[in-house]
Symmetry: C2
Subunit: 238 residues, 2 copies
């Protein structure tokens, strides 16, 4: 509720710029608006809740750095992650009623964010926001198929590919490699499994030579082949 707003941070917003520019080539007005917004950046610490409401602003927010997720907790403590929130993502673009849906947003790392510039400032920005909204919707739908119809092995592969795509869009992937600050328990909450089973399935994927995971670093050895193995195809990033 009354969390520290954190001090201004020196984060330069590069990933957010990268992602929004990839969604719709930004014009000068958009870039300027973003630069200004970056100067109002705040940071909240790990495990904090992060919502437009809890940070005292009714405007949508733009994530500059860090990982978070929208998640739902059941009465008996079971948790389900609805979608991950990564640098460059926007929160609260449409005003769905968080409260009524028992949904919270939790930070898994310290998260740097700023108010999202008003999209009326630039047509490019408006386009980028629309694309971002569409992508978020697509990720949510992908999550349904993932947990509804894929087995543990496929769920992990599918999620890793989504993360690689999304981080690449923000310029945060290094080839087929990226940093993933998630515990196996968090993965379990995302994939509708237990952390024990995540652990075993990850080991299998390592032995199969599909993934190299150590600590927070993930390498997808052959994305194309992994896409094929779960019957999808590499999306042309439009």
């Amino acid at each position: 509720m009354n969390q520290r707003r954190g001090s201004l941070t020196k984060n330069d917003g590069t990933p957010a710029l990268h992602r929004l520019n990839a969604l719709a080539p930004l014009d000068d007005a958009a870039i300027m608006a973003l630069e200004i917004a970056f100067q109002r950046a705040r940071i909240i610490s790990q495990r904090r809740e992060l919502t437009p409401d809890s940070i005292n602003t009714r405007e949508p927010i733009l994530v500059l750095d860090g990982w978070a997720a929208r998640l739902r907790t059941l009465a008996d403590g079971r948790r389900q992650i609805l979608n991950f929130i990564l640098p460059g993502d926007l929160i609260g673009l449409y005003g769905y009623d968080q409260a009524s849906t028992a949904t919270t947003i939790t930070a898994f790392t310290p998260v740097t964010f700023c108010p999202a510039p008003n999209m009326s400032l630039s047509p490019a920005l408006e386009l980028a926001y629309a694309a971002s909204r569409a992508l978020e919707e697509a990720h949510v739908l992908a999550q349904i198929t993932r947990i509804g119809r894929l087995n543990a092995h496929e769920r992990i592969a599918d999620l890793m590919l989504e993360l690689l795509e999304r981080l690449s869009l923000a310029g945060l992937a290094n080839g087929n490699e990226f940093t993933m600050p998630l515990t196996q328990e968090i993965l379990a909450d995302a994939l509708g499994l237990t952390s024990v089973h995540i652990n075993r399935t990850l080991q299998l994927a390592r032995r199969e030579g599909e993934l190299e995971i150590s600590g927070k670093s993930v390498r997808i050895c052959d994305p194309e082949s992994l896409y094929r193995s779960i019957g999808r195809h590499h999306p042309a990033i439009d």
Copy 2:
């Protein structure tokens, strides 16, 4: 693609009126616009695909009668229903890119629909559309928690409660009873289970006295108790 547009139908759009009016009390302009739209109603037959694209209109559409669902099919034939579409629901309110997400909409019964009146015609209509959009989003998120963290028994209970809520909103429920034209296989595709397991779990729910299901008729014996059993509470329909 080139499907028969169907003939004009005598459907009066009552469920759609009921639902939209419940979401936001309609003014005269809205009602008039809807009445006009109803006269342009079309019907498509069972098992048809139903998308703004396949029915030659770029405008969103309003469902007047019948059941459908948005679903995704995997390369090997596995299917996952993303959400059900019921009378009074709107399709294509935001232009998410159906094509890019390999999502289709399939009719489980003959479906009557009409173009959705432009929301600029009435502030009430605009409010109703916004509420409808928020509800759809909530249902999609509920679906994630359902298949991610509930067991078979809970999934069925949770879905039945959602259907009762939604049909009540459209005036299509008779107390705790409603008509559900879905096969057990369709339920399986919605709940991430197999039809065999749906069958067994339904029988259990019948024996437990929770549900009375015969043919297409469903009765939820004690909604309140069922809500409690899955750790939710009856939503105040706002």
